[in-house]
Amino acid sequence: MIARDPARAALDEAARASRAKLLAVLATRSGDITACEDALAEAFVRAAQSWTTTGVPNSPEAWLLTTARNHLKDHFKSATFRTTTSLESENTEGFTMENIDPNAIPDERLKLMFVCAHPAIDEAVRAPLMLQTVLGLDATDIGQAFLLPGTTMAQRLVRAKRKIRDARISFVLPDRDDMGPRLESVLEAIYGAVAASWTRGAESDDPEHDLDREATFLSDLLVDLGPQEAEALGLAALLNFIIARREAQQDDAGTLIPLRDQDAELWNRRRLVRAETLLRRAKNAGDIGRFQLEAAIQAVHCDRRKSGKTDWISIVQLYEGLLRLTPTMGAAVAQAAAIGEAYGPQAGLDVLEKVEKNSGKNYQPLWAARAHLLEMAGQNAEAAYDQAVRLTKSAKALAYLSRKRERARHRRECGTVKADTD
């Protein structure tokens, strides 16, 4: 392996580990997320120039904070800023940045998350805003996850940040009474990050991807913050179940291996134990919520490691509860697939038929599930795989579905359309 440029490596590391932390520290003090993002970007640009010539500083984080802080102070003193905003003098002058010790930067990411989840922010933009500010996803990736064009998403994010600044929403953790509804948005965003982590995962050579690590860190923080919040525990359990399976989720070529075909021996046992403990704590905390139910579904899947088989009937029932609580297309399709496994493929196909009326014809998971059930039923699944392939954006799933489609075509050409025993 070629030795990496130390300045480049330090910059990458700082961008990964420190960006959100620095943004949170700056934003909680200035209230202006966009200005802080700009200042941080400027600090990274200067670091790229300076670190290659003068060497990496002892504390890259402190260096970046000081540089961004100075840039921010210049911005708040600038003429354009003064004539276009209504921030009061105390905020620009005092701008209590001086009293952050660069060598002991506090972690204020949770405050940043809860600002994004404030009821004064449009509900639809809360999770995207958190994904961008706290987890560093770009508008295009977020747009893809929320089925919106990147430009539309970018505009909404800009508008939301402007509202936080102009209406002066303060960066504080909500008290117990206001915690509930805001916690829901925060949990939603953390969960969204793990979903995005999976689609982006191929870029990372680390089995526990960066976003996974960030998301579990944040969900652990939440558990510490409100140990009695059942849904925070439920999400933490769910994340641990999902992340426990990362290694088993793709083959060496980066092709997806669906849950039912995974080698349970490859699941991370330490993570599974932690997930089960968290799920137990969630159950004891009362209030069954969406994340607890999803974690319970994952727990049944992961029991296969011990029992050797999957209890599909329990999974169908848990999805029933989940659909009653939060009727999403994803859960409806997953339940149909589980019904196919529990009661035979035709039963699953019948349910999918109904789901399609709500989801429309362009919902990728619907076609992937249909193709699988058709195959189970010994019918021609080629057309369904065609649709699934056409609608797939993830490279890993694409590789898997293309291979399945080839086999379906092969079977049709040989005139032996029968159940796939792979």
């Binding site: 003064r82 905003t85 209504s86 102009d166 209406a167 002066r168 303060s170």
Partner: protein
């Protein structure tokens, strides 16, 4: 930071208050204004006559146009406002929640756009 609370109400639901009711209303709002003043956040307020008394004027399209009635002919009409000076939106919302009219209508809370020193 200064915030204005715009008090919106469904006027059609209003009936002409009796003198006692009027006294009661004045007392309730008087107490609220007293609380705002005591907290040192009060800037200004007014209580408006119903929107049928409104007259709307514009020079926007060249000539002067004066029209009878409010600008927007909606069911919920602006009935009054409070201007308060508080540190942040959450504090402004707390005061809005204490405003008597929050029980009968909507309150829109908006931050001031006026640069500091020109207020």
């Amino acid at each position: 930071m200064r915030y204005t609370m715009f008090l919106y109400n469904d006027e059609s639901a209003f009936t002409e208050p009796s003198p006692e009711e009027m006294q009661e209303q004045l007392a309730v709002y008087g107490a609220y204004i007293g609380a705002l003043k005591e907290a040192g956040v009060f800037v200004d307020t007014d209580w408006l006559q119903p929107s049928q008394t409104a007259t709307t004027i514009t020079l926007k399209d060249g000539g002067k146009r004066v029209q009878d009635g409010p600008y927007a002919d909606t069911k919920e009409q602006l009935g009054g406002y409070f201007v308060i000076d508080v540190p942040d939106l959450d504090t402004a919302l707390e005061w809005a929640e204490k405003c008597p009219s929050v029980h009968s209508g909507q309150i829109e809370v908006r931050p001031s756009a006026m640069p500091e020193g020109q207020k």
